[in-house]
């Protein structure tokens, strides 16, 4: 779930201060391209998409999961969120990727996209259990977006022993198959269903 804009702005100010102290090269360490978008992005920036693909690869490790498809699912969901929320998520992904706060808080010198899977898990673990609420809420926001986008897809439901419900459209349209005789009588009398 999105974290408030005010917190991100505050964080941005902290980040700005650190940049002024000489961390420019670390902060702008280029992201690694880990997945190519297969459709135009609606809410995520190009760099955010890369970070998200890397993150999704660690959050959703189920067999057959496609991180690029999941990241597109996140992008689609976010397109319905407020512009402020979209901006906040882009900033959060930037923060997640950024090696400078990573160096200060996690001891890493590479952007998230350039880390090994084990190191990426360590970063997630560090955000997950952080003493800083912003990090915990940020981790939760990204984790939930990834899991939600994956488990919305029917292709993920097999291991859950969950059968996609059959379409009931035909039943609902065909009044004769809906409900009890009382229901049908009420409808025949003009009661709004």
């Amino acid at each position: 779930m999105p974290t408030s804009r005010r917190r991100f702005l505050r964080n941005g100010l902290v980040g700005g201060g650190l940049l002024a102290l000489g961390g420019v090269s670390l902060a702008f360490y280029p992201s690694k391209e880990v997945g190519v978008p297969t459709e135009p992005l609606a809410a995520l920036e190009a760099r955010s998409f890369q970070v998200l693909v890397a993150l999704v690869s660690r959050v959703v490790t189920a067999k057959g999961a496609n991180p690029v498809a999941i990241a597109h699912g996140v992008d689609r969901s976010l397109s319905y969120a407020l512009p402020e929320t979209q901006e906040a998520i882009n900033k959060l992904l930037g923060l997640f990727e950024n090696a400078l706060p990573g160096l200060l808080l996690d001891g890493r010198i590479k952007p998230f996209t350039r880390l090994s899977p084990e190191s990426q898990d360590a970063v997630l673990e560090s955000w997950r259990t952080s003493r800083i609420e912003l990090r915990r809420n940020g981790y939760q926001a990204l984790r939930k977006l990834a899991l939600t986008a994956y488990y919305m897809e029917e292709s993920s439901w097999g291991p859950l022993d969950y059968q996609p419900p059959p379409s009931l459209r035909a039943i609902a349209y065909d009044d004769s198959q809906v409900g009890t005789p009382e229901w049908l009588r009420a409808r025949a009398e003009g009661d709004t269903p």
């Binding site: 660690r58 969901s77 809420n137 984790r143 488990y151 022993d161």
Partner: protein
């Protein structure tokens, strides 16, 4: 063609996204929002002979759109594409956004407002405009129209049965629930819109009733601000949105009406007032209550299949009244793949190992009852730079204590019903086998971002009462103290939370207020 389809295609129903010019609208009464408050008000006033205009920001969906897939529906049917949270992201806010409002996606649980709550409002918040007895005929009328009836023990799904049986074994008060359904097919998809029109939401009852009686509805129309002059609202201005409700189309609308009713629900209603410069001396937006809830997953040897059957059919109010401590009630939560995946802690293989046990999982929540303690002021709605609302809701020590206590009782109830393992939803969960480990629950991290807290019940922000220095609207007819023709009729007028699921409280109070408005207007 069914009657609903006829109404949907009525010339009185206008899709704002398709407008090719700005709209200029007029009515006796303009109602902003078509949820529990707005729809009942619209039907009541339209039947009384007033010309009624309903405005709705969300889309007009029908059962054919309710595909029982989260992918197709959640983003469209919930506020902010289901991403609404409190300002610090600590509490997820489930709130509907569609013609019919939250009633389209709620879990159909119905309670009248508890009598002692109405009494509390009178004594503590100066709500003297009605007594419980005044609400009763309105509850009865709503119960009849919405087919509200108590469900039987035998009709409960195992998820709810575990709650019922666990409480019974412990000697805790518990009962089956009353639901607003007719000929329910037990599909279990109330949360994503009823696919067979069994749920008697506003979408299939009061909105068609209102349109039948001549009311007009413009959807994909977002109310931006009222123009206030000399103690009354002169007009309302707003923005028309695209077909998916994501962006403005560039077209605007203006409404001139004799009377305006704000029914956007808690959070949105106070925001509309604030955008209009109506803050009632700083009271608008304050005292927003959420029934914040924490959950517990229990795993049984037998299959529970929590995705099947009515989402909620039992509740325990055994711990509702705890004196100086915050009370809570216990209910079940339905299982949908994405919703519960996101609620299950962890990531990667560890998450998958737990989540794939879903068929054996029951999920129950402790829903805290906020607003009854002087040191728990609730939340405050403020405006973002864009004018969209944001709710700050600090979770203080008293509420954390209630969560902790509620978490223990949830586990106790789940073990009593036969659970083998119980897991809290903390990011580092407390995993208990065989019995409750109270020390481990105490030792868990009780802080924002370390466990999911959620709300499906938003209340307050435009408190009713008869003292203009402590309330926004008067209780007699929910009219703003300071504006002669502006009413707020929805869950935002409650001075506290309710201690029960809110939909029927809103229906009953809306019908009472609208009936009084109609009588005072003396048409027909």
């Amino acid at each position: 063609m069914t009657k609903l389809a006829v109404i949907r295609s009525s010339p009185n129903v206008v899709d704002g996204s398709q407008a090719t010019a700005d709209l200029v609208l007029e009515a006796d009464v303009c109602i902003v929002g078509t949820g529990a408050g707005g729809a009942v008000t619209a039907a009541t006033l339209a039947r009384a002979g007033l010309t009624v205009l309903m405005l709705e920001e969300g889309g007009y969906f029908t059962h054919a759109d309710f595909t029982m897939r989260e992918k197709d529906t959640e983003s469209r049917l919930y506020q902010e594409g289901m991403s609404r949270t409190t300002g610090d992201a600590s509490i997820a806010i489930l709130q509907g956004r569609a013609v019919g409002g939250t009633t389209v996606v709620n879990w159909t649980t119905c309670f009248r407002t508890p009598e002692d709550v109405v009494e509390h409002w009178k004594k503590k918040h100066g709500v003297a405009g009605f007594a419980y007895a005044d609400l009763v005929p309105h509850y009865e009328a709503i119960e009849q129209r919405l087919a509200i009836a108590k469900v039987s023990y035998g009709s409960m799904n195992p998820n709810n049965k575990m709650l019922h049986d666990g409480c019974t074994k412990l000697g805790w008060g518990v009962d089956t629930l009353r639901r607003n359904v007719h000929a329910c097919m037990q599909t279990g998809f109330c949360h994503l819109g009823c696919p067979v029109n069994a749920k008697r939401s506003m979408l299939v009852t009061m909105i068609p009733d209102a349109i039948d009686a001549g009311a007009k509805l413009v959807f994909r129309a977002r109310a931006d601000r009222f123009d206030v002059e000399a103690g009354s609202v002169k007009s309302l201005r707003g923005t028309l949105l695209d077909g998916e409700g994501r962006k403005p189309t560039g077209r605007a609308f203006t409404v001139k009406a004799k009377r305006f009713v704000v029914s956007g629900g808690a959070i949105n209603s106070p925001a509309l007032l604030l955008r209009s410069g109506i803050d009632a001396g700083g009271l608008v937006g304050t005292r927003t209550f959420l029934h914040p809830a924490v959950g517990s997953q229990a795993f049984y040897e037998e299959k529970i299949e929590p995705s099947r059957g009515a989402p909620q059919s039992a509740a325990s109010h055994h711990f509702a009244h705890r004196g100086e401590e915050i009370g809570f009630f216990l209910e079940a939560v339905p299982w949908y793949p994405a919703l519960i995946a996101a609620t299950t802690p962890g990531f990667g293989a560890a998450h998958e190992a737990v989540f794939t046990q879903s068929p054996h999982m029951a999920i129950h929540i402790a829903i805290t009852i906020d607003g009854f303690h002087d040191d728990v002021p609730g939340g405050r709605v403020r405006l973002r730079e864009s004018g969209a609302p944001i709710l700050d809701y600090p979770i203080g020590p008293k509420l954390w204590n209630a969560f902790r206590f509620g978490q223990k009782r949830l586990a106790e109830m789940q073990f009593a019903s036969g659970a083998k393992t119980v897991r809290t939803l903390h990011e580092i969960p407390v995993v208990m086998t065989g019995k409750v480990d109270e020390a481990a629950i105490d030792a868990a991290r009780w802080e924002g971002g370390s466990l999911p807290v959620s709300t499906a019940h938003q209340m307050g922000g435009c408190s009713m009462g008869d003292d203009p220095t402590t309330s926004v609207v008067r209780s007699e007819d929910l009219r703003c103290h300071t504006l002669a023709n502006l009413h707020v009729i929805d869950g935002s007028v409650f001075p506290t939370s309710l201690g029960v699921n809110p939909q029927q409280s809103i229906y009953g109070l809306a019908r009472l207020a609208a009936t009084r408005i109609a009588a005072a207007t003396r048409v027909r």
